[in-house]
């Protein structure tokens, strides 16, 4: 932290930060991985930032969830701790180096989730004031029913905290999940304007959404560093069929 602590909107780095937000089943991860492929093929230095980076913080989160020890406050704080680690180790260094950093979910996930759990909206925004403001934050807007169909189709069982079971909306896991996600959507909708998120209509085809995302990202990439040698191998593999 040498040199003092920079606040949201005050960081100045040569790199670019693109993040995606949206409820489970909005298709945001698919869109981000397609964007990743394209940026790499274009020769950008891309860094994909994963959640839960530090094993120490990760252990506390996992144990807290497993034993159901987390209150809305400690849930919020342990995730902020994890996010701080990610910021200090996996977001700021690559941005300083001029990379394009991609993140699946960002601080807005925490704002939505924690506020639904009863935490003060002002407090949680202050808590994350150290976060780097993204170059573009995409919000994949999805009606709840569409997202529910995608989720209930083919994923693992819904987890206790994901369904907001800790705040007692319903005793039924699926019903609680539905109520919880509906409230999360309300919070996202409020944030679109507050943080200038770019909404993408996630009911459109994957291809149409990706074309729009690439157009917006492309506009924000002027002057960004590329690797000297174009990645012909990647291009070759893309040509074989993974290209959309």
């Amino acid at each position: 932290m040498a040199g003092g602590m920079k606040m949201y909107g005050k960081h100045r780095f040569p790199g670019r930060l693109f993040i995606v937000e949206g409820i489970d089943g909005s298709g945001k991860s698919t869109q981000l991985s397609l964007l990743n492929k394209w940026l790499q093929a274009e020769g950008y230095v891309v860094y994909f930032s994963e959640w839960n980076s530090s094993p120490l913080v990760h252990d506390v989160t996992k144990r807290g969830k497993k034993k159901k020890m987390l209150t809305p406050m400690t849930f919020s704080l342990i995730h902020a701790t994890d996010f701080a680690d990610r910021t200090e180790h996996h977001i700021i260094p690559p941005l300083k180096a001029g990379a394009v950093v991609l993140a699946d979910r960002y601080i807005y996930t925490a704002f939505a989730r924690d506020v639904v759990r009863g935490v003060s909206p002002k407090w949680v925004r202050d808590l994350y004031a150290f976060a780097v403001k993204p170059t573009v934050g995409f919000y994949f807007r999805t009606p709840l029913d569409v997202a529910m169909k995608r989720i209930l189709g083919g994923r693992d069982a819904i987890k206790y905290y994901e369904a907001g079971m800790d705040i007692g909306l319903s005793d039924d896991l699926e019903e609680s999940f539905r109520f919880f996600q509906a409230r999360i959507i309300d919070e996202y909708e409020k944030m679109v304007e507050e943080f200038g998120l770019v909404s993408i209509d996630a009911t459109r085809s994957i291809e149409d959404q990706q074309a729009e995302v690439r157009r917006i990202v492309s506009d924000a990439l002027t002057g960004t560093k590329k690797t000297r040698i174009r990645r012909w191998l990647d291009l070759a593999s893309l040509a074989k069929g993974s290209r959309i």
Partner: protein, 231 residues
């Protein structure tokens, strides 16, 4: 007098009127004798019929163990460490301190948010940000700041445990050796504590006397707080 309050944006779902106990904080740099006095005060209060909970930093069921490891490994960044401590504190506040206050206990705590803030500030965290983050903390009934000047502190530490890596702020690379680093680091912490005296209403207790003298001073003040009627 009024009951408890929060510093800023408080905890969700807490009814402050239910908190009948007293929250008493002992603050001060490393080596001023906080834990000795907590032990003595606890015994004295219990002999006088008060139920006492004594608690300290990094002891939470949720994060205490991992936080100790993080400290030893010193691989986490400054903001991450500050928030890890805040998580640990929130867990103790919600699962130990508040339930004890609800049951009418006197809670004696060895350090509180002030030490956490001072340590984070010397590691570069923004003071305003820290105050907002710790807005969920309860305002204590009394904060006793055990104060020693730097020379007395060095003597005291040499006589007991010697210089410790962390208490010397060696992670900040402030001096050529442990002694130099300890002096600079603790001086800096002292300056931060001194700034907080007025802001947070610390009662300064001179910690340079004998254990008996300091304890007698503290005991009289704690007695007044314990007798104070909450409502």
């Amino acid at each position: 007098m009024a009951g408890f309050g929060f510093f800023g944006e408080g905890l969700p779902d807490i009814d402050l009127d239910e908190l009948k106990g007293k929250l008493i904080v002992l603050e001060g740099t490393d080596g001023v004798g906080r834990s000795t006095h907590i032990g003595l005060l606890k015994e004295w209060l219990e002999n006088h019929g008060h139920a006492v909970l004594d608690t300290g930093m990094t002891r939470s069921a949720l994060a205490g163990k991992r936080l100790k490891q993080a400290k030893e490994g010193h691989t986490l960044g400054g903001i991450t460490m500050s928030l890890f401590y805040a998580t640990d504190f929130a867990d103790r506040l919600e699962s130990e301190i508040i339930p004890a206050l609800r049951a009418g206990f006197i809670v004696l705590t060895d350090r509180y948010i002030y030490s956490l803030m001072a340590r984070a500030i010397v590691r570069g965290a923004d003071p305003e940000w820290l105050r907002e983050v710790y807005g969920f903390a309860l305002k204590p009934d009394a904060i006793f700041y055990l104060r020693l000047n730097i020379d007395d502190l060095v003597t005291r530490v040499l006589q007991s445990t010697g210089f410790d890596y962390w208490e010397s702020g060696m992670d900040l690379h402030m001096g050529e050796d442990m002694y130099e680093s300890f002096v600079r680091y603790q001086k800096w912490l002292l300056a931060e504590f001194d700034k907080m005296v007025e802001t947070f209403g610390f009662t300064v207790v001179d910690a340079s006397g004998s254990v008996e003298e300091v304890f007698e001073n503290l005991r009289q003040r704690v007695e007044l707080v314990a007798q104070r009627n909450g409502y």
